[in-house]
């Protein structure tokens, strides 16, 4: 399939009219990507009858220099350098009619340190291109030369842990519920109870901004009273993600400044504010010693379906470059979409300094992060204390586990819910470090810890049968080949 189709050159190449993309220099199967190239992997679904090579070359063309017809003004440029080059097209295993197209882009095509520019090229016009039924950006290889032009996470996992003086265990959080309708005063009550009970963080939900029932300043003031009370009552650092998402940058800066003045260690933004606003807030966060939490609100509209859109692994990479400190990356066992292997791929992208290619996790390229700070993944949505062994096994230690309902819905109250989660977590870490087979002995370890902790006992009883076992839609296309035993 990866045969040459004959790139036209010289005078012929620039004769006015329409020419196939694959003959214009956008299909170069012999091209070897440079270490400094940006590489994008697309899942291309051509319209019926459209040659997959031509479709893939068109993606390269439309995401770089091409337009629908030959233009002589190409000759005023080093056009061959600026053309993105599709260099490999593979059939997607088990998905007839879909193809993986590997496309290399010269570094000069991109502005330093700008996700807006990167994404405007790679996912700009091309996703609406008529000869394609569907198109999905699956993964990207970002060259070190480009990675180094980004700030990266404002704080990073290590410094976040140092600032909060919390090591050796996942951090615990909860989203205040109900997410809409509480007054500032009542909202702060939930924050206080959860933090005093033993959580490290509470969190605004994505759509808590400034509504008739609670103006943002009321929320900030009451939340900080709660945080400080809980801190004094436990002798331990506490935080609450104050969502500063607003209509304009000016509003967001105003809210963030107020949060900082009140002494908040963390503020929060939603993905829907856009890449440029996210990068601005990341710079603000670094300048002001504030941790920046990102809620991935809206991502499922384009990440969930496999045929069209952008994979979340690409969004995770962009967000690590953009410079947020926390990102929601799935729970596997909770209520929201999340295949275990695919989710593992996201977590690796957030936390490792080097990601080796791992097709079974959906990771298509070796990716070096060149010592860019690590991004703390957040697991949130439908998780509870009874799953602690699974969560620790699947998500590891550097993660924020957010038990919203699993704290606030506790039959004995919010503090009891928080205690249950913290005791379950510490018991599991202790057992893991002691070398116990905590994944299999998990329920037993929890039951033992519950003997001296009534809140944990009640939590285990309340949620013992709650699971969310549904088929994932976004799963890897490759399964590991079982090796014969030797």
């Amino acid at each position: 399939m990866n045969a040459h189709t004959g790139t036209v050159s010289g005078k012929e190449r620039y004769r006015s009219g329409v020419m196939e993309y694959k003959r214009m220099g956008y299909w170069e199967p012999d091209y070897v990507p440079k270490d400094t190239d940006v590489i994008a992997l697309f899942r291309v679904t051509p319209q019926d009858g459209v040659d997959p090579i031509e479709a893939s070359a068109a993606v390269a063309g439309e995401s770089s220099t091409a337009t629908w017809t030959v233009v002589w003004t190409d000759r005023l440029t080093a056009a061959e350098k600026y053309r993105a080059k599709c260099y490999r097209v593979d059939e997607v295993p088990g998905a007839p009619g879909q193809y993986f197209a590997y496309i290399a882009y010269d570094l000069d095509l991109f502005e330093s340190g700008s996700i807006a520019n990167l994404s405007a090229s790679i996912i700009g016009n091309v996703f609406g291109f008529k000869p394609l039924k569907a198109l999905r950006l699956e993964d990207m290889r970002l060259p070190v030369a480009y990675v180094k032009t980004f700030q990266g996470p404002a704080t990073g996992i290590v410094v976040e842990r140092e600032r909060l003086d919390k090591f050796g265990r996942p951090l615990l959080g909860a989203t205040v519920k109900p997410k809409l309708g509480l007054s500032g005063r009542n909202y702060g009550r939930v924050v206080y109870e959860a933090l005093k009970g033993g959580l490290d963080f509470t969190k605004d939900d994505e759509n808590i901004n400034s509504q008739p029932f609670m103006h943002w300043r009321e929320r900030f003031l009451y939340c900080m009273e709660a945080v400080n009370r809980a801190q004094a009552a436990s002798g331990e650092m506490k935080g609450t993600y104050l969502n500063v998402t607003a209509a304009t940058m000016e509003d967001m800066y105003e809210r963030a400044e107020f949060a900082k003045e009140l002494g908040s260690v963390v503020v929060m933004i939603d993905l829907v504010i856009g890449y440029t606003a996210i990068q601005s807030m990341a710079k603000w966060a670094r300048r002001n010693d504030v941790i920046l939490h990102l809620h991935r609100a809206g991502h499922s509209t384009y990440t969930r379906q496999k045929s069209h859109g952008v994979s979340f692994r690409v969004i995770a990479k962009w967000m690590r470059l953009a410079g947020v400190d926390h990102i929601h990356a799935g729970t596997v066992v909770g209520k929201l979409e999340g295949d275990p292997n695919t989710t593992r791929g996201y977590y690796d992208i957030c936390r490792d300094d080097f990601n080796p290619m791992k097709l079974e996790h959906g990771v298509f390229f070796d990716q070096s992060w060149a010592s860019l700070n690590k991004l703390m993944p957040v697991a949130s949505g439908g998780i509870h204390a009874g799953q602690m062994h699974q969560l620790l096994d699947l998500l590891g230690e550097d993660v924020v586990l957010q038990f919203g309902g699993g704290t606030i819905g506790h039959p004995m109250g919010i503090q009891a819910g928080a205690i249950a989660n913290r005791v379950a977590l510490e018991a599991m870490i202790l057992a893991r470090n002691e070398g116990r087979d905590y994944v299999h002995e998990g329920p037993e370890i929890l039951a033992k810890a519950a003997e001296s902790c009534t809140p944990l006992k009640a939590a285990l009883e309340t949620w013992k049968d709650v699971t969310f076992n549904y088929q994932s839609t976004d799963t890897p296309d490759f399964v590991p080949t079982a090796l014969a035993a030797v």
Binding site: V158, R161, E162, D165, F167, G168, R169, G198, R217, L221, M224, E225, N228, R229, Q231, A232, A233, S234, G235, E236, M237, E261, L262, G263, D353, S371, K374, I419, R422, V423, E426, A427, I429, L430, N433, E434, G435, A449, S452
Partner: protein, 135 residues
């Protein structure tokens, strides 16, 4: 109040056998183990006093336990914590930290509020003097 800093403060105080196993876990990971003590465990009090240097190149947790016993003998009326330090690239910081000794009477904090402009409050967490000082 029970100071809840560290990895295991919500569990019953660890026995020496449990501490030994956690130290062994640190050593197995190649982390240096550090013993620190303080009578100032404010949430922002980063630098507790070091009981000697961090113990690098140790094979057996018994060495740490001996030092801990000695530290407890001298500073048993203070907070003592153990931490595991990971010097590997990209981390170069603490990996685990937990309290292994508490004073007979635990610290109490109180919150001072300074009312400033508008409805804002400046908060300061300060140590409350011990209520009953033993003779």
């Amino acid at each position: 109040m029970r100071l809840t800093q560290g990895c295991f403060s919500f569990l019953p105080d660890l026995t020496d056998d449990q501490i030994y196993k956690q130290v062994q876990y640190c050593l197995a990971n190649g982390w240096a183990v550090n013993i620190e003590f303080t009578d100032d465990p404010h949430p922002r009090s980063t630098y507790w006093e070091m009981w000697g240097l961090p113990m690098f190149d140790l094979a057996d947790a018994a060495g740490v336990m001996m030092e801990l016993a000695e530290c407890r003998r001298v500073y048993g009326d203070r907070y003592i914590r153990l931490s595991g330090f990971d010097a590997s690239h990209g981390w170069e910081s603490v990996r685990i930290s937990f309290i292994v000794n508490r004073p007979p009477q635990e610290v109490e904090f109180e919150l001072l509020r300074q009312e400033v402009a508008g409805r804002s409050v400046r908060y300061t967490t300060v140590r409350r003097p011990p209520q009953h000082v033993s003779p």
